[in-house]
Symmetry: D2
Subunit: 304 residues, 4 copies
């Protein structure tokens, strides 16, 4: 369970105190506020704050004075148009602030998205908790043999057991030694900023992360993708569910044009045109490399 | 008057519909929401949305679960500490969205601050209104003789009258011709994206501008400064008044450490140390250039 | 002619002084250095400096110690892979610095690309030259009747003549009055920061603009596009020609995957799959709006 | 020794092949190119590329056509003026690209500076080396008792020995198990993207890091500061030495106005003014908190 009773009580207290505001309110998002959505074995995502809604995207695109008298249907059409034509600035007018608890090796991937604001829990200042990500058996995979940057089938039997054993034992030994080094019981105690270097990358950290909707969509497109590492994809999936409730029309456009869409090269488009005219196109006649052709076939055949 | 009756009605309607939210609410900022604060002769600033308050800055700095049980006094101390030590990320956790109407030559300075989100009214798509900035007589100044980049005394008499006459006449003639060129009355009508090039830089434009509090403070430090051009400074001043109501503790820290503070060079600090020991330091013995010494004297003497 | 004899002499002098360096050198780009490529009637683009070449993209992607022993062919394959999979960071490892002279209304579009560094000629500090963009007759178009944000056919006859007459007359009158207001002949002279507001948006400005290759490609994809305004597209086209000489492999990948490619939505991909199976798909059965369908047909049919 | 013989050979080969260029060349920086400057026990910093020099800063500030005919002395004066008045854009016109090898816990601090470009060695794709940071005995410090975020005195005797023993033993055990898990000898081998989670934060990683001079100065001001953690400060110090050779005038201005300077609050300035008039100011009469007063005293007394 990712939250202590005390933490849950703080959250419950915050949720019990609605206030009045003149700002745009997203009813779907209010349902999520502050609640911790569990991810992995000790992690979570929770919404701390948000700015704007679907109407705010249109209001900014129109630089209008009020919320606009346009219908919801018109708004959805405008949002689809903006998404299709890469008009990104109106989507930047919505903002979200999340509190995320996540393993350090996931945090290291996540932080590569630079157009966001971050406050991370400081292990120079504070002591980290004894919480480590230990994968569930169904997520312990072999190195992929086709993709140097991915995983293959699930490990089974003794090998999986050995991996689990190692991860657990090393995590706990390292943490025991971390505690021992910083202890001020009968000794001075090592500086926290040094002791933390003994903790492996599956230790959990946490941060506040704030990002605008355009950059969030960019993050989600890359990290909710099937090629993303499983351990970050589950966070992206959890956030997708929240965004779908926050800005439903924008999320539908994102699903259609980004998550469910694909970019085709000039060569690929040329092949499609030839195929539609009845030509039998092969990798050899396509002008594409084998890798590109395989990916192109994936796009044409995959009903996902 | 910067707003039409219709626009004012849209604003009034928005202000008449409070909603419920679980988010942090800043009572001081709710007072400002949507209202247009007049700036210059046709411009304004109005708050469209905001995220966070003083407590949210501390909550992010502490990566806490609830609003925190710390007292308001502790929060102010933390905010001052963060500002003093250039810990900027907690201030980035607050966000504001403004609707601004401003002359194009002001917009051109403003946009140089890149860490913000902008949606500008499109003169490719729409027709601009006949609204031009004409300075009040007390803001028509001569070129400065000491600062190549500033203004000197107020122009008087005939010269001022001629300037006003020119600005008014050229604005209107250019706008008359703009209208004539795009007119589809008896002719095809020039494309808007071309016709706009005939409008001078005192024509008004408008945009939605969204920025986090840290970057807003950076903007305000430069643009609410005495060396900023008057026509952008009045916008910065108007925003300062709103921020003081939105995040009072953060604004007080900003006033003390940024607006009212000064950066001293190593040479300047050395001089201060010597002067405190009783030494009579002059420009010649200071190691500073004449310009630096003049600015240093300004810092030491200016009670502002 | 955009350059004075004195300016040309400064450029010639710089080009006459080669130096030795251990850095990566792009022979194709050295040919362009400092030379002004004319754009529009008074504008230009010239390369002031660059960092990196095709090999530098691969070197960064591999985090390698030397220039790498990989073949040029392998490098091109890697570059295509990186472009296809949106691995943008290696392209960010190349940088270019341009000196651009351009009309203010073009500069206002250009500056919306925020991930770049800019130093603009200051009209607070200096006096602008009497140089205005006056379109050639073949670029004076009517407002489009199908696209609110574009131009239609070329204006002809009297209407075109009137437009040209207006643009020339208003430019010169505004500049005459600008000169008159700042003149210190028998008067104090209006501050430059104020006088500039009388100049229309076709006056030329200039700046140094520095950007990394990834963000430059993003700029070029949007601004070398057929839907971009002609007056900025000609700058993008001039830069494309330089980039093709600077990083030939990266530019070829950019042409194939970005300029010549297209993004298809989930709905569009579904239609392609159905059409390839022999189904006759219409707008009604496609699930797309009329606008989307028209754009989709454009992608399928356009051999460009 | 941070480099293998093979890596050293690649570097030597690159340094043996000077080329001709028309670009600005910094002789001081050419000396550094490609060479690895050792930092900590296995780390290094080396310059891969650079753009610009002191003259390029002035050239951009003046938006000039050639290298400028102004004297070196004038250039230094302009650079000092720009630095003093926070005109940051001309400094952004210089760029540097570094290859850095550093422990992961240092990399995690470093990456918080977002306005830079990064390509990190991928532990999803590749296998990390058995290299861990083990502090020298004189850098094993106790937790500070006055600053929650710093270190106090050096640990001595048994306690220091125990810390060293733990860090070495845990690093090697974790690496042994990492190797064992990914081994494909008699088993499938765990995916690298998973196995890496067993490695502690003192394992070395490496990246290419590219940044402009303005943002580099910002990084150096924070990280070459006495309050920065020792393990990142040594990297900042190594970079400072390179920058001093690259852009000597800009570095001197940075030393005077940033590294050796201090920001004083309005309250602090008020105290200085009163003290210069002979008043005996105490913490009680200063209006400052105890912490602020202590820091203020540090600025006034510290001859560093």
């Amino acid at each position: 369970m990712p939250l202590s009773a005390e933490q849950q009580a703080e959250i419950d207290e915050q949720r019990s105190q609605p206030g009045q505001t003149l700002r745009a309110v997203s009813p779907g998002m209010e349902q999520h506020l502050y609640k911790a959505q569990p991810v992995l074995d000790h992690g979570f995502v929770r919404v701390i704050d948000y700015m704007g809604d679907d109407a705010a995207i249109c209001q900014a695109a129109r630089v209008s004075y009020g919320r606009g008298t346009k219908s919801v249907q018109n708004d959805e059409g405008l949002i689809r148009y903006l998404m299709r034509h890469w008009h990104s600035t109106p989507f930047e007018m919505c903002e979200i602030k999340l509190h995320v608890k996540l393993p350090v090796f996931v945090a290291r991937q996540w932080i590569r998205h630079r157009t966001a604001n971050v406050n991370e829990y400081s292990a120079r200042y504070s002591i980290l908790d004894r919480e480590f990500y230990i994968p569930a058996p169904e997520h312990i995979n072999a190195q992929s043999v086709v993709n140097n940057q991915g995983r293959g089938g699930v490990l089974e039997g003794d090998e999986a057991a050995r991996v689990l054993e190692i991860l657990k034992a090393d995590s706990h030994r390292c943490y025991d030694n971390y505690e021992q080094m910083i202890s001020q019981d009968g000794q001075d105690g090592l500086a926290r900023e040094l002791a933390r270097m003994n903790l492996p990358a599956n230790v959990y950290t946490q941060w506040y992360w704030k990002v605008d909707l355009h950059n969030l969509f960019h993050f989600l497109r890359l990290r909710a993708d099937a090629h993303a590492q499983y351990e970050i994809r589950v966070y992206a999936d959890a956030i997708c569910a929240m965004v779908a409730d926050w800005v439903p029309a924008a999320y539908r456009a994102f699903e259609d044009y980004r998550l469910g869409g694909a970019t085709m090269s000039g060569k690929a488009l040329d092949c499609v045109r030839r195929m539609l005219k009845g030509e039998e196109v092969t990798q050899e006649t396509s002008g594409m490399s084998k890798g590109e052709w395989r990916e192109f076939q994936g796009v044409l055949n995959d009903p996902a």
